[in-house]
């Protein structure tokens, strides 16, 4: 058994990336970014509000957190729904009690199904980020172009019907195809959060901004995947805040999943984390759109 001789051809071995999606950039050699009030660290809470249909789709793949048993999986359907009925209000209360603004990455199906939740998010002054149709609305490179285009256009149309025009987009499981950045731009999205390769927003070649929502710092990764306690989660976030504030001009993204971090036995640790981060005095809490605007305003770097 030998390998095809072409296996040692490297047609994209060249300066920069082996793709043309965005240009190479070393974060440490960019002009420094300063946040409002000269705070060194922008903290970006991004709550996800997800609707998992009880009939999961495996095309193109089953989303993380989706149904796991044979139909009907009441266990996971209701445990996920807990997030939208109960958990998310604990998070909204925690932010509003402290005068903080967050992003809420919401499946448009959640906005349609739970108008009271949409109202609560808007009344809290939080920013809506489009998060596909529902948790069956996943995209990847195996999806036909028309199907992908339809998911993004459907998401846009349904938000428009609700009277909202979110500027930001988060894909299900951060999964994209090579076409996604262009399709998002076509549907009027100005930024996305899927590519986790930086601690600052940066521009793709087509002009759309990517604001990385670091999956390594998500409650799903730390608590569900690595099985850490809420206390360990808080310590890891504070260690990250210490480091990023020390570098200065960085973003600390906090992806918050209501059915994970906002359970009764975890939420108090998270509230105490917010209090400690506020007490530091060096954190600027803001939604993703505001962070991108601030970065564009104070940086001479082209975003």
């Amino acid at each position: 058994m030998t390998l095809d001789p072409g296996y040692l051809d490297y047609p994209r071995r060249r300066p920069g990336y082996d793709h043309d999606l965005y240009p190479w950039s070393n974060i440490h050699s960019r002009p420094p970014v300063r946040w409002p009030d000269d705070r060194p660290l922008a903290v970006w809470p991004c709550i996800v509000a997800e609707f998992f249909p009880i009939t999961p789709s495996d095309v193109p793949f089953r989303a993380p957190g989706h149904m796991q048993t044979a139909f009907p999986d009441y266990r996971h359907y209701t445990a996920r729904d807990y997030g939208n009925r109960v958990g998310i209000y604990r998070l909204l209360d925690a932010f509003e009690a402290r005068g903080l603004r967050a992003s809420v990455a919401m499946n448009v199906a959640v906005a349609e199904r739970c108008p009271a939740l949409l109202q609560a998010v808007l009344q809290g002054g939080h920013e809506i980020v489009a998060h596909s149709t529902d948790m069956n609305g996943a995209i990847d490179g195996s999806l036909p172009a028309e199907a992908e285009q339809a998911i993004i256009a459907d998401t846009r149309a349904r938000w428009t019907a609700l009277g909202h025009t979110p500027a930001g987009w988060l894909s299900v499981a951060r999964s994209q195809s090579f076409r996604t950045a262009d399709l998002l731009l076509e549907q009027g999205f100005r930024w996305m959060a899927d590519w986790c390769n930086d601690d600052l927003p940066y521009a793709f070649a087509n002009g759309i901004i990517n604001l990385p929502l670091n999956h390594e710092l998500s409650d799903r990764q730390i608590i569900n995947t690595t099985q850490a306690s809420a206390d360990s989660y808080c310590q890891q976030i504070e260690d990250a805040a210490d480091w990023l504030a020390g570098e200065g001009g960085r973003v600390l993204p906090l992806q918050l999943t209501p059915y994970i971090i906002a359970l009764p036995y975890r939420i108090a640790a998270f509230e105490a984390l917010l209090d400690r981060m506020l007490a530091r005095g060096d954190c600027w809490f803001a939604g993703g759109g505001a962070i991108i605007e601030a970065a564009q305003a104070v940086s001479s770097a082209r975003l």
Partner: protein
Amino acid sequence: MDDPRLYAYLPYRNRPKLVWPGNRPIAVWVAPNLEYYEIDPPAHPKRKSWPRPHPDVVGFSHRDYGNRVGHWRMADAMSEFGFPGSVSLSVALCNHHPEIVADGAARGWEFFSHGIYNTRYAYDMSVDQERAIIRDSLETVRASTGQTIRGWLAPALTHTVNTLDLIAEAGLDYTCDLYHDDQPTPIATKNGLLTAIPYSLEVNDHYGFFVYNMSPRDYADTLIRQYERLAAEGETSGTVMCIPLHAYLIGQPHRIGPFREVLRHIANDGRAWIARAGEIVDAYRAQVPA
């Protein structure tokens, strides 16, 4: 062939005493993996590059974080406490992001080959194909850094039964691919002697964070326990501890602070000979004639 006959069995008890320079019981080396993962690599019949269809956005962008952000955090922490790197290099990084390779070279780091890309696997390569990637590695690293590579860590840990013979044929001195010992081992090949230098899977940050799901502080504690034990045992006969790293993992903001404390601990302990891989191989060979 149920035994690949890589080396002779040698019990850990009653070995000749190795002593590292300065009469130190433990040699510590840090092995940053400076890697390039292709976004759309060709398929290999024996191994899939990415779990998701291309582009695997999380997989690719996570690795890219190491090159855009994490490398300098890791490298600065190492430089601060006097740890040079011995780099496991995807040699195409010399073409894609020469700034990173130049940074390592400027810090006095040693480079060895980790294949062309971490998305090109050696399984099923012919002898000529494997010779080609070895030659490519030698030429590319020499052109980029002036260094002649002395060692090999197979790309994505993929091998053929010819690999060790072929890297010896090309004049390389050490392999990082064998995990059977806490001391260097002579490896007889068809083309002369190689030295197997202890690398590590178990305290590799990839295992710590992806296999064992450790918190950053638990991983730091693991490294300190590994160091303390090997330093103590090294009084009997010198040991080697390798800390293999990936900037996309250790350079994350919640991990680099606890890791920096590990380097401080080892540097301040006083028992460690902090060295490059090639220096450890040379010191070993000077004590154990082939």
